[in-house]
Symmetry: C2
Subunit: 626 residues, 2 copies
């Protein structure tokens, strides 16, 4: 290996980092400079194997910048590889540039959008698991900052990587001692990093992160290592390395070198040639497979595998989910299933039993589970990720970030709402709809029976993008024929069959509250009062035109949901129906939830059939007297 060439490339990359950030007038040059020697050696030292003309090549090594604020380094590496021009580097952080403040999918070499710290290693775990599953021999590298190692998600990832013996995963911690506002938790105490990482079952090397021969030698050892363990380089570095007035100095985080000091800074780097670095090609060059394409066909292929539920059968939607999931996994090679040690509750255990190689037990570590799901998704898989709906809140940041990586994750949350009963508030998801509704172009589905669960699970798999599916703990009757059609953005109308009477009130429910609405409809029919009931199984998107047309002649709308009012079904409906002037009344969870029987709690929160009946009557009375 020509190490001189690496030294030269490191200088060139430092130059690119400085000019791009100074031009932007903002950015993180010092956090980039500390990791430069590490990344240059990795990328151009013949360790990193990738077909740069085809970033999606499934045999490419993967490099995740978990310390996303070092994006100037990422872009500069690809500039040094001839894939970004010096001119484009100067568009860094500008509106419309591919080179955003933190890496996004606009830049084709970004493995995953980062910038919320401590998430990259989990994404790497997902990619490394995928490589094992597919018997691909590529490696996954993750560059981390030292501050982010305080994030618990990193330790979740470390533990899981050990459990799954991910010897194809290499972490690199850039221990540059300084965080945004001073020294990090462990400063330059690389020994403690090593003790912790090794206690978590990783093989590790503490090195000087600016000693290129040493870095090269260590990476060589890693390539040759046959311990079967995941590997970590703990590199002692200096923030701002290469420019004396930045080096190891406080107060330079997230600051560009002022234009009038740029020349001086560049001079400090030393002389270098503007030559392009060479990245080794992977041994097998393949075209990427399109997960989406395979997915689109899966639905019809597994129709024969669908359970034949009969109207009136009593089946919890979580059970119906488990049943169809196993069929889906068998039919679509891209579907993988992850669960947080509750597969016997979410019912994803069907896959564990029937297709164990596609089931990944992620233990009680939801952040890492979602991060790993993103890793799978980025490699073309369709991960179905399940836990109690309430516990997805644990991974909201990972869920939030995933949307910026064009993710295609299916989140399935069981045990929604107060209807779970005795376990009490801690286990009740009452904010999950609000959370998942915030996802840009995300889909939120909430089936009410076994048939709709099967159909919506298939639609989720076929949809390209994030989907949240909310299942119910309690057993509920099947209300749809097995050939009923559903669509993302659809709803179903259940009309009262009182002859000659037009319903003045429309009740909109979903999941468990749809059944309460239908019960109310039945009971009111006995009193010669008709209401229409809408099953809003697609909470996002809502077919607002169709819904508007359906309800436009009614005099009042009632929404009823087993969820807090804020951000829930009621507000989704208010937004969807903003074009018409019909009063909307919301029934939602408004009292501090507690333990009790499901029926007691639905009654207590006034979201049961009786509450609906009472409200319908109150509305009708007001109408009559007015």
């Amino acid at each position: 290996m020509d190490l001189k060439n690496l030294e030269n490339l490191a200088k060139l990359v430092r130059y690119y980092i400085l000019i791009s950030t100074t031009e932007a007038g903002t950015g993180h040059p010092t956090s980039s400079l500390s990791a430069t020697d590490l990344m240059v050696t990795l990328m151009f030292g013949s360790f990193f194997k990738a077909d740069l003309n085809n970033p999606e090549n499934i045999n490419n090594d993967r490099l995740i910048f978990s310390k996303g604020h070092a994006s100037p380094l990422l872009y500069s590496l690809y500039a040094a590889a001839g894939k970004v021009s010096e001119e484009e580097l100067k568009t860094l952080r500008k509106f419309g540039s591919r080179l955003e403040g933190h890496p996004t999918m606009e830049f084709p070499y970004t493995e995953a959008a980062t910038g919320s710290l401590g998430q990259g290693l989990s994404i790497g775990v997902g990619m490394a698991l995928n490589a094992k599953l597919e018997k691909l021999d590529h490696q996954t590298f993750v560059l981390m900052g030292d501050s982010e190692v305080a994030e618990g998600s990193v330790w979740e990832a470390l533990a899981l990587a050990t459990h799954y013996k991910l010897d194809n995963l290499v972490g690199i911690i850039d221990v540059n001692r300084l965080g945004q506002r001073g020294e990090t938790l462990l400063g330059h105490d690389t020994k403690t990093y090593q003790d912790r990482v090794e206690a978590f079952g990783w093989k590790s090397w503490v090195i000087d992160g600016h000693d290129i021969p040493k870095i090269w030698e260590t990476m060589k050892k890693i390539q040759e290592d046959r311990s079967g363990m995941p590997k970590m380089i703990i590199a002692k570095t200096l923030k701002g390395k290469g420019v004396s007035f930045l080096e190891n100095m406080d107060g330079w985080h997230g600051k560009a070198v002022p234009a009038d000091k740029l020349e001086e800074a560049i001079k400090e780097i030393g002389e270098f040639d503007k030559v392009v670095g060479k990245v080794v090609l992977p041994s097998v060059i393949a075209r990427p497979r399109s997960g989406a394409a395979i997915s689109a066909k899966s639905g019809s292929r597994i129709m024969s595998g669908m359970t034949k539920y009969k109207i009136g059968d009593i089946v919890a939607t979580r059970k119906a989910y488990g049943n169809i999931l196993a069929q889906l996994v068998k039919a679509n090679p891209n579907v993988v299933v992850l669960d947080a040690e509750v597969s016997n509750s979410t019912m994803s255990e069907t896959v564990k039993k029937e297709v164990p190689e596609k089931f990944f037990e992620m233990y009680i570590a939801e952040q890492n589970m979602v991060g790993a799901a993103l890793g799978f998704s980025r490699r073309g898989k369709i991960p179905f990720v399940s836990t109690f709906a309430a516990f997805f809140s644990r991974a909201f940041d990972q869920i939030r970030m995933s949307q910026y990586s064009n993710s295609n994750i299916k989140f399935v949350g069981s045990h929604a709402g107060v209807s779970i009963g005795e376990d009490g508030a801690s286990q009740m998801a009452l904010e999950d709809i609000a959370m998942f509704r915030t996802l840009h172009e995300g889909v939120v589905l909430y089936p009410s029976d076994a048939v709709s669960t099967e159909r919506l699970s298939l639609l989720a798999a076929e949809h390209l993008g994030n989907v949240y599916l909310r299942t119910t703990r309690a057993e509920t009757p099947v209300i749809y024929n097995s050939d009923e059609e559903f669509k993302i953005g659809g709803f179903k109308k259940h009309v009262s069959s009182i002859k000659g009477q037009v319903s003045r009130v429309v009740v909109i429910g979903a999941g468990i509250t749809l059944h309460e609405s239908l019960k109310a409809q039945q009971q009111l029919m006995e009193e010669e009062v008709s209401i229409d009931v809408i099953d809003l199984y697609s909470i996002k998107p809502i077919d607002h035109e169709g819904l508007t047309k359906t309800v436009k002649d009614s005099q009042a709308i009632i929404t009823v949901e087993d969820h807090y009012e804020e951000g829930g079904i009621g507000e989704a409906v208010r937004t969807a129906l903003s074009g018409i002037n019909i009063p909307i009344h919301s029934l939602a969870v408004r009292k501090m939830p507690k333990s009790g029987k499901p029926a007691e709690l639905l009654g207590y929160e006034e979201i049961d059939s009786q509450a609906i009946i009472n409200l319908v009557k109150r509305i009708s009375k007001v109408k009559r007297s007015s």
Copy 2:
């Protein structure tokens, strides 16, 4: 010590666990039985010091059941201490009982509501930090399950406890090997638990968790330990211990012994006497202080400390927050400040500089930060917790759970919305309002200038309950006089001053979009078009009667927010104004956000003054033509 007595009490507690769960027909007896010997020895072996007649005594030792599903054990311990009757035990999990499925504040000995795993140690960190701060010599004990140790939050707490040398914190891991659906990540590998815990700087003991003399001896060592380190007992136990057909058996998680097997189970425990156990009193018995009472007076006391901003001054609200926070900490001894290594961005660094003993650097570990804040809150403190608003999503589960502990936490999120500019989507909070709005009885405040920031910060401190305050990165002009009054649930109206013209459109903004609204108002005035602008600084609660009254004569309402539409200001307004029939138009972040200058991004997302002007004109045109 009479260890025979402990053996007897352990049998009595096992009896209580069995009868209460069988009566409930639901619950987690096996997870309770595994920790029984540990907890009985702690509580009745003269280690736990508490005045049980006064659970809020500040000198009481604290015992947090992080494995909240072992609530039958918690209740049974207090039954064995004579504080819960056998009759009440049989109300377990029933509607209206103090003995809920997972511990809640209904039960006076619950330190914090638990049930979402992996949170208890962080709460313990907060309580232990508080004891250090107040120079109290009580200890804080945390009982954890083994499954939950996979949660990253546990490792965040371990690292921070070491950093702050919390030798008053004792963790106990009940390694019963079995999770909900089979073996845990580490099974009975207590050695690996120990290696990891010790690498994180804790002193630890691996013991047989059913050997009462050994447990007693270990706890004695812990009491006598002067290492200055936090301490962990890693106890190898058997799930279901004491009943042979439950012991170490799979398939018994979360299941009560059937009624027809209860007698057999009780017989297996062996003979015991129903005697009451004795808990040692703390050496100093004190009445609890009321944090709320002190808080209520603080506002007026620090009015003199308030900054004198003049209208037109350019001050970022995050800076105004930092200024008032230091005054608040000086005026109110109950206020503590926690930050996730970004205090120079959130501006809480003022406290670090001026009152360092009240500032707690929590590093980049938001889950543990929020958990610790709950610990402080439960001990009467008013924690102000700050980070980038986007990164509170990392702790959503902790935030969610805190509401069930009657928490009094002030969350302050800076860097909200696309207006942060170049850093890009990962750093932009666009779902924080939706998230915090879901909190039961939570308050969401969003000041627009320095004056309102100071006032709202004081109101937040005085309010008993969770408050979220959203601050802005960008500098904005002061628009309120320094004696302007604000209130939780209030809003401000800025009317157009075109003589004789009544505004037909009301624009509702907050924070950065209020300034855009006011800009639009100014510009439209030049075109002889008047609009009213409302500063909705209190997003939750909204004074819906006052707001309804204010807007009721307008012909259209426009909401404009630097946040995704779902769960945001627009939907909050729709819900608040559900009583009137005026069209509401929402301007919100709808396109995939990216890097750019703040003004470019506000324009791109169509939430700037120009977008408001365009919409006002479009609405007016429609009106005129209709």
